[in-house]
Subunit: 268 residues, 2 copies
Amino acid sequence: MAERRRITGFSNPTVKAIRALREKKHRKAAGRFLAEGLRLLTDARESGRLPEVLVLSDARDPHPLLAELEAAVAAACGEVLETTPDILSRITGKGNPQAVAGVFAEFDTSLAAIDRSAAPIWLVAQALRDPGNLGTMLRTGDAIGAGGLILVDDCADPFGVEAVRASMGAVFTQRIARARWEEFLPWLRSDKGQLVAASLRDAQPYRSAPYAAPCFILVGNESRGLPEDYEAACDLRVSMPMKGRADSLNAAVAAAVLGYEVLATLQG
Amino acid sequence: MAERRRITGFSNPTVKAIRALREKKHRKAAGRFLAEGLRLLTDARESGRLPEVLVLSDARDPHPLLAELEAAVAAACGEVLETTPDILSRITGKGNPQAVAGVFAEFDTSLAAIDRSAAPIWLVAQALRDPGNLGTMLRTGDAIGAGGLILVDDCADPFGVEAVRASMGAVFTQRIARARWEEFLPWLRSDKGQLVAASLRDAQPYRSAPYAAPCFILVGNESRGLPEDYEAACDLRVSMPMKGRADSLNAAVAAAVLGYEVLATLQG
């Protein structure tokens, strides 16, 4: 077992630097993000992602997965820190901290890193502002066998603590790309790919639409929906029944209902 | 137009009492809750729900729907207050306050108030802890033509600010009931009704299951899922494809995917 560095001071610079990753500007500056909990970190490890820094609570219970995680981090020349539950609380911002947290290098989020032939479905979100919705879309993407999530225009940060939590580990398994619409559309059109929007304008029923792989499912901003010209650029506009007063669904819900429909269609 | 009472002091007892409704214990004591925004309050009015107290920002822009709302509240002998944007911010807890907020009496949330024959679908959540998920389920229920949401065991408060916001007005259109499982199950079995759970145990594929109205769709707690004996009490256990690493969906997503499938089946 590798040597662990022990930290007990709240004002320790390492603690401060890790804690700062809860804020977007510090994540951006450091190119690092924070994930917490044995389950999440085990998902990461099994997906081939190891933290550069592993922070263990000295009040943790022994667990074989924790031992495997620590060994893997040490073998990859990562750093293992041990600290008090109080300090771990301070790092994660949770009153009831998990036994472990990790600092990860952010992934390449360029469109160029996406291999569209790797999966039949891709989720695309435009100006999605809620980190919980973003994380939920990653989680849904994992469930439907999507390749990843493409974030178009100004979206919430996929590496924020809330998005990572809501993704339930899918932040490590789904590809994530970020692009402006002006980059995304030419990239999409440079190869095979059907762009489908949940829409109210000129739309056909979502249950019988001719989905085709690779299918890119586009949902818009939580309050404004998709810009009209974005919808117009889609190959297919589909609508879900709206039997009540409202005319829209939560963005993550719309992506999931449509995603499962596309999956069922593609599987024939 | 009725006379408006003008309030300009942060320490005004009315302001304090309204602001206190952001906390569950005060909502419970007062039997009142808070909703904000012209759109939400218009949805409420059109669903036959008027606030007892209407709070207007003195920086609001004139709007015909706002005038109609004020007139309706005054005609129903409700109170109309006018205050500063700062105080309205303080009441709603939002930096960028809406032009209007309202105080509503909580509704009857007993099972006895539910007429199951009024709708083909009902959503049921067990120990749902996230108010955003709860509000999203109400919103989805509105979209699929559900009659309402039955909250079993200890759930988040449907009248909390976050749940009301996430419901996008559906808190006023969907019936809401609260019950322990020990009350819910006998009530369900006292009349026609199919109880369906999203489950991994002994489940059939959700796309071809024999759903029947009135169909009660049950989802469980965000981290623990449903207790095994609750699942065993269901008429139908169905599973959605899980093609990735995760073995579950977000609770509100699961309810929506299943809800849309039930809707499609019942509509033939």
